[in-house]
């Protein structure tokens, strides 16, 4: 099947959910065609509100709506949802533990041609640091739909990180997302790659190449970044020589940091982080950007081989 962007799956899931659940309100900040909340708007226009290009206010309005016992899905690009509106998210949504689900699309460099001003590579770090916030990054359309539906019934704030460009489906229909649980997609033994978001697909592609070269890696999808699956991370550290994390996010404060926090406390393990270096992105196609910034499957292959050599 063709690739589907997680934002597209989000829009479809939300359009279904808003018709089923009377508690749901949807807010957008003039990006409803891009975030895909326009599908929910078409499904139930009386519960979708465009707040204009004013993301700080949108988060405050979301909080206010949630005080009435409603569930609010608020969307914008990750740059503006987590960046521009950081302090509104912190003080009006998280400090209050209100039932707001921030579904941020166009995260990371695979936003593509719009360039660095719109490419959020810091949002996981920002959102993860806020008390009461949960951070989820689904890897494909199947997982996205489950996440969007399930978080409606988990009280409190969520940050769901979604992408602009199409990604391959990595889960079958029997998959069931669980908050705080990782998912082993492919069991190997030498090195474990813990990936999130678009990097799950790249890690699986890398695994195929590596197999031909005699490396047997485990690939894990870590969609639930906070809370994170400590038990699985520790288990992987005990059954593998080393761990590699892979994310389309800054090397500071994202999945790699979250895994390092677990390992350094309980079972110090050699860890290599595949992430964006301390730099901004730029314009380009998603594939060209993944390649240039060291996140493509061939780059993952190179990392695994280098790391294996270091571990010898």
């Amino acid at each position: 099947m063709g690739k589907v962007a997680t934002r597209v799956a989000y829009g479809e899931a939300l359009a279904e959910l808003i018709q089923k659940d009377d508690r749901i309100f949807v807010l957008d900040a003039d990006l409803s065609k891009s975030t895909n909340t326009h599908k929910a708007q078409e499904a139930k226009p009386e519960r979708h509100f465009n707040m204009g290009i004013a993301e700080g206010n949108m988060m405050g309005v979301a909080a206010g709506i949630a005080t009435g016992g409603n569930i609010v899905y608020a969307s914008s690009f990750a740059m503006f949802a987590a960046g521009r509106a950081f302090e509104q998210v912190r003080n009006s949504i998280c400090y209050t533990k209100l039932n707001v689900k921030i579904c941020a699309t166009h995260a990371g460099i695979t936003l593509g041609e719009d360039g660095a001003s719109h490419q959020s590579v810091e949002d996981i770090a920002l959102m993860r640091a806020i008390p009461n916030m949960r951070v989820i990054q689904p890897a494909d359309d199947v997982e996205t739909k489950q996440v969007i539906e399930k978080i409606a019934n988990i009280e409190g704030p969520f940050y769901v990180r979604l992408g602009r460009s199409g990604v391959a489906r990595v889960h079958d229909e029997n998959y069931s997302f669980k908050l705080g649980k990782g998912n082993v997609l492919s069991q190997g033994k030498d090195i474990a790659i813990i990936a999130t978001g678009v990097m799950v697909e790249q890690a699986l592609l890398a695994k195929e190449t590596l197999k031909e070269d005699g490396f047997d890696v485990t690939v894990v999808n870590m969609a639930s970044i906070k809370p994170i699956d400590e038990e699985m991370i520790l288990q992987l550290s005990k059954t593998h020589k080393g761990i590699i994390t892979a994310e389309e996010h800054s090397k500071f404060g994202g999945l790699g940091s979250a895994v390092a926090e677990v390992l350094s406390k309980h079972n110090p393990t050699r860890l290599r982080m595949i992430a964006i270096e301390d730099t901004f992105g730029e314009s380009g196609t998603p594939d060209a950007l993944l390649e240039k910034y060291g996140l493509s499957a061939p780059s993952v292959v190179r990392h695994v081989k280098e790391f294996a050599k270091e571990l010898e």
Partner: protein
């Protein structure tokens, strides 16, 4: 409620504001005292808020957008019997429910956690918007500071309230003229405020914020006005009720010492 009864309540609120801030040795006294009549009228003459409906997620709501005036909010919650008078003396102390800036997580009756300026008004807009969407008749009130109106978010929220014609939303602007660094027109002039709200499609009423008849009349006019939210620009005196605090921005966020406390209480007892 009769004006003389409201005046007694407003004076009780002022005394508790002074007691709380003096006891905590910190807190925002000037902008709490300026809002006593507005808050007293809202809680004792306007809003439907009782012990019975206090925990309801949907009812009339009050958002103290200028969250640093928490002493006036906690005082009125105590006056309503929602919190104990003795608890007021825990204000700003360790393990207290009465935080420096109000938290809805700890206290039923705090309808929104505020303190970071500009954010409360957005939450009030969200409440009013949700009531409209669900055809509920409840009304939403918010108190915004004049210095607070320098925050861009206030105008984002004002734009949204005008756009969605939230005639169930009433904003009091506590126009006491001072912020922590001094005269608002010298720090960063936000005037004219009435014309700004009009330009954002609000119904605007200007009153003396210490006059009960004017407060009541403005609230009645707001209720009758359809199709626009109402902004009540309330001219007030910062530090109202204690002569040495009045119109003196040094009392924005300063606690009185024992001598000043006794003098302030003496003045308020005499009223």
């Amino acid at each position: 409620m009769e004006n003389n009864q409201l005046a007694t309540i407003a004076n009780n609120l002022r005394k508790n504001v002074v007691r709380m801030v003096a006891n905590a040795k910190s807190g925002h006294i000037g902008g709490s005292l300026s809002a006593a009549e507005i808050v007293a009228t809202l809680y004792f003459d306007e809003m439907d808020i009782t012990k019975e409906n206090l925990k309801n997620k949907e009812r009339d709501k009050f958002v103290l957008s200028k969250g640093h005036a928490s002493p006036i909010l906690f005082s009125v919650l105590a006056e309503k019997g929602f919190i104990e008078q003795e608890e007021l003396m825990t204000f700003r102390k360790i393990n207290s429910r009465l935080q420096g800036h109000p938290s809805m997580v700890y206290v039923d009756g705090v309808d929104m956690s505020t303190g970071s300026l500009g954010q409360g008004i957005s939450a009030a807009v969200g409440m009013a918007l949700s009531y409209k969407a669900k055809n509920l008749d409840y009304r939403v009130y918010t108190l915004v500071g004049d210095g607070e109106s320098q925050e861009g978010q206030v105008w984002e929220a004002a734009m949204a309230a005008g756009h969605y014609k939230l005639d169930n939303l009433v904003l009091f602007l506590d126009f006491n003229g001072y912020q922590i660094d001094g005269d608002i027109t010298k720090v960063m002039n936000p005037l004219p405020l009435d014309k700004k709200f009009q330009a954002f499609n609000w119904n605007v009423i200007t009153i003396d914020g210490h006059n009960f008849d004017e407060i009541k009349a403005a609230l009645k006019q707001a209720k009758e006005f359809k199709g626009k939210p109402t902004a009540i620009i309330a001219h007030t005196v910062k530090g109202k009720g204690v002569d040495f605090m009045e119109n003196n921005y040094a009392w924005h966020g300063t606690a009185p010492n024992q001598e000043q406390f006794e003098e302030a209480m003496k003045q308020l007892e005499g009223k």
